[in-house]
């Protein structure tokens, strides 16, 4: 991120903030979408995070750390949305026409569905660690710094989350795959 733009926005330059929001909006939304697994909630979280960024920018002491700081505000917004709505809308998925068909494809689709279900069973903090590490490729130390929690907590959450996802794949996918092959 261009630190000059960050500094201008810190000083209240709305035009600079617009540039900033345009630059980071997509990636913030991609992360909130993956944490919350709900389009409406993700939009609300991203909007809330962007407004928080504007409101709190003067308090960011090191403009060069804007990216990590913005993720932190986004995670806060995702937590808030997650607490507000504990009932998740059903997520129906259809196999698009250009996807390959056959037993292997059925298995892949089934994996996705099981991952979706397994992921939704996780708490928002656990999902967040998975997304920051496996989607954004953040090292665990950076995840810890972004979330403001100890490294051990991050490792624990990731371990728990991945166990949950693996269990979801193992417990549900195999019978369904066998069913699909018959």
């Amino acid at each position: 991120m261009d630190t000059e733009v960050v500094i201008r926005a810190q000083r209240g330059d709305a035009e600079a903030f617009a540039t900033l929001a345009l630059a980071v909006g997509d990636r913030l939304h991609a992360v909130s979408q993956r944490i919350l697994r709900d389009a409406d909630l993700a939009e609300d979280a991203t909007q809330s995070a962007l407004l928080s960024i504007w409101r709190d920018l003067p308090q960011l002491r090191d403009p060069a750390r804007f990216d990590a700081w913005s993720y932190r505000l986004l995670v806060r917004a995702c937590y808030a949305e997650g607490r507000r709505t504990r009932q998740w809308a059903p997520n129906l998925r259809v196999l698009s026409a250009d996807e390959p068909s056959g037993p292997d494809a059925m298995g892949l689709v089934h994996d996705r569905d099981q991952l979706e279900r397994g992921f939704r069973r996780l708490s928002i903090p656990h999902r967040t660690v998975v997304v920051l590490h496996h989607y954004l490729d953040m090292p665990l130390e950076q995840v810890a710094e972004t979330l403001g929690v100890p490294l051990g907590t991050v490792k624990s959450r990731l371990l728990h989350a991945m166990r949950g996802l693996r269990a979801a794949l193992d417990a549900d996918a195999r019978p369904a795959r066998q069913e699909a092959v018959r």
């Binding site: 939009e43 505000l73 997304v131 496996h134 989607y135 193992d170």
Partner: protein, 225 residues
């Protein structure tokens, strides 16, 4: 059975799917609100790397549910004197004293606290007023806990003119003994509030809360030994 590596591969592949573009209407809504949304320029805490401070590992506000405000204060020197350039903690003159003093929060919040008791049997009040905006709040103190050497004293807002802490908000003041003593406020912005004063602490910890931005402050306070 899936291997760890296979699970990781599947998860990474699955996460790549899905929307990545923020709808224009969301961005437009944000930019529309910017003109009417003031920036916070003082008083409440800034985000810092928790590596900068050991206590930041306890940090607050990993979630939007939490907002942490920085206050500063210093304790009575060891000889019982008030103020001074290098304040230290002083033993409590009474067994039931939890915290008592008046201090200015990093040039922003004038704070008075008078609390006795321990655990979930705390009684007392705390008032804080932002010198810059003249907004403030009063808190009915109800519980305390010491976590990693930091004293947390919490309660409910009973009166307020501060926009970010409506009546009923659970607030805690976190005091780190030392020379100088440091402190912060933490308040819960989520709705509904935690089930109890102690549950508020639990919820904060569960969210990875930590007192970032601890700063020395001016004034005096006595703490329980």
């Amino acid at each position: 059975m899936s291997t760890d590596r296979e699970t990781t591969r599947l998860v990474r592949s699955w996460l790549e799917e899905g929307a990545t573009r923020l709808p224009d209407r969301v961005l437009d809504a944000v930019l529309d609100q910017v003109s009417t949304t003031p920036q916070r320029r003082s008083g409440w805490s800034a985000w810092r790397s928790y590596r900068m401070n050991t206590y930041a590992k306890l940090a607050a506000a990993a979630a939007a549910a939490l907002v942490v405000a920085v206050v500063g204060y210093r304790l009575l020197p060891g000889n019982g004197g008030i103020g001074g350039s290098n304040p230290t903690t002083a033993p409590s003159p009474t067994a039931s004293l939890l915290a008592k003093g008046t201090f200015v929060v990093a040039g922003s919040f004038n704070t008075t606290i008078d609390a006795t008791g321990s655990g979930s049997n705390v009684s007392g009040t705390m008032t804080a007023r932002d010198a810059g905006t003249a907004q403030g709040f009063s808190v009915d103190l109800q519980c305390e806990r010491t976590i990693d050497g930091v004293l947390w004293i919490g309660g409910d807002v009973t009166e307020t003119t501060y926009a970010d802490s409506p009546k009923g908000t659970r607030i805690a003041i976190l005091l780190k003994p030392g020379s100088p003593v440091q402190g912060i406020f933490a308040f819960q912005a989520s709705d509904p509030p935690s089930a109890s004063c102690q549950a508020f602490f639990d919820d904060m910890l569960a969210l990875g809360a930590s007192p970032q931005g601890l700063q020395p402050i001016t004034g005096t306070v006595e703490l329980a030994p």
